[in-house]
């Protein structure tokens, strides 16, 4: 029995949705517990005084990456069947900038705005409403944006394929970057804290 369970036919659509629901609840719960339901904490990321978002997200990424690498190495997970969001370079850079502006202005990203709404935060709820309106607006404007939306495609690509490096080496490089980033961000936080104290 190996993964992905759904693609390999081990579980059906209903079970798949149920598992997604449970994982989604757990994701929200831990986001909240990590303090990411607070707009102040999220905005502090951009002022450099609290880099929790960076540390938490990068930790999640390298944890999943190490898990996926080893599961696949032991033959328990078939990476060919794992869905990858296709890469479109320019649209995703512009999308990232729009996302970043929304993040700093609103104080939440889509996931954390839902988490904040769940705790009753009004600004969280306003963010979710804005998110839905944004989706609606994008849908209405899609015919005009379609050419750009589909431009500069790289397909379903991974860093391993793009740089043509062995998967394990790529894992090692990214973990080193993450650990270095964590070390630097703690230094940076300490520096900012001492400046504020003065």
């Amino acid at each position: 029995m190996n993964g992905p369970f759904y693609e390999n036919g081990w579980i059906g659509e209903e079970a798949s949705l149920l598992i997604a629901l449970i994982i989604g609840l757990a994701f929200g719960f831990f986001l909240e517990r990590a303090g990411l339901g607070s707009a102040r904490k999220l905005a502090a990321q951009f002022y450099g005084s609290d880099l929790t978002v960076f540390k938490m997200m990068f930790t999640a990424i390298i944890t999943a990456m190490i898990g996926v690498y080893w599961l696949s190495w032991f033959g328990l997970l078939n990476l060919d069947l794992v869905y990858l969001t296709p890469t479109y370079v320019m649209p995703q850079i512009i999308g990232g900038l729009v996302f970043g502006i929304g993040f700093i202005v609103g104080g939440y990203c889509p996931g954390t705005s839902c988490v904040a709404s769940a705790t009753g935060s009004i600004d969280g709820i306003v963010n979710v409403v804005g998110l839905l309106l944004g989706i609606l607006l994008f849908g209405e404007l899609y015919p005009y944006l379609e050419t750009f939306y589909n431009s500069t495609p790289l397909g379903q690509t991974t860093m391993v394929q793009y740089f043509e490096l062995p998967a394990g080496l790529m894992v090692f490089i990214l973990v080193m970057v993450a650990l270095g980033g964590f070390w630097l961000s703690e230094k940076f936080e300490a520096l900012n804290a001492s400046n504020e104290g003065e």
Binding site: G9, I62, I66, W73, G75, L84, L169, V171, F172, A178
Partner: protein, 203 residues
């Protein structure tokens, strides 16, 4: 001594150490055994559409089995194929050389996973099923400019497509040749092509 040293570290540092060890061993593993343990001793059952088309044309001895239901079989099936739907095939024993196929690989894969120990070394599965037969053999896309080293293979596809009454579409891209160059011994099952049901997307 070592234990004392470890217990002096914060939880974060210990987790960072664990990540380092796992990542470093991942790097070593990907140089020592890049394919991992997954492919060890695993027999690949695949036959390509081109090989199968040649075999049917040359009237080689084997049983070609269509695992889909009777309706799908009536609508379209490969020449010389017999219809034994999945549920029946699951319970049958086959003596001679058998090649299975389904619409995509879904049924063939289920059958292979349930039965490959009892079916023996004479069993094969058509890679890509009816889908690839149709898209890659009957109505394939081939490049206008064929590189010298691919000429033999491309001519073979053209000949087979014509033989089975298909039609070739010539395109600019050379990438369409990639499919025919697959080493099927190294290939995993292609992803199930589900037309209705969940569309999987990222977050």
């Amino acid at each position: 001594m070592k234990v004392n040293k470890l217990s002096g570290l914060s939880l974060n540092k210990r987790l960072a150490g664990l990540a380092f060890v796992l990542a470093a061993s991942a790097m070593v593993a990907s140089f020592v055994a890049p394919e991992g343990l997954k492919n060890e001793n695993e027999r690949r059952p695949f036959i390509s559409v081109v090989t199968l088309a040649n075999a049917i044309k040359n009237r080689e001895e084997f049983l070609l089995i269509d695992l889909r239901d009777a309706e799908a079989y009536e609508e379209f099936h490969l020449p010389s194929a017999e219809n034994i739907p999945y549920d029946s095939a699951l319970a049958m024993d086959f003596e001679s050389k058998v090649i299975f196929y389904s619409g995509d690989d879904y049924l063939a894969k289920r059958l292979w996973e349930k039965r490959h120990e009892s079916l023996g070394p004479n069993t094969m599965v058509l890679y890509g099923g009816v889908h690839d037969w149709y898209e890659k053999l009957l109505y394939p896309e081939l490049p206008i400019n064929i590189p010298e080293e691919h000429k033999t293979m491309v001519n073979q596809v053209i000949e087979l497509s014509t033989y089975y009454g298909g039609q070739i579409e010539f395109v600019e891209s050379q990438e369409v040749l990639e499919y025919y160059e697959y080493d099927l011994n190294k290939k995993y099952w292609p992803g199930a092509k589900r037309t209705n049901g969940l569309v999987r997307k990222g977050c």
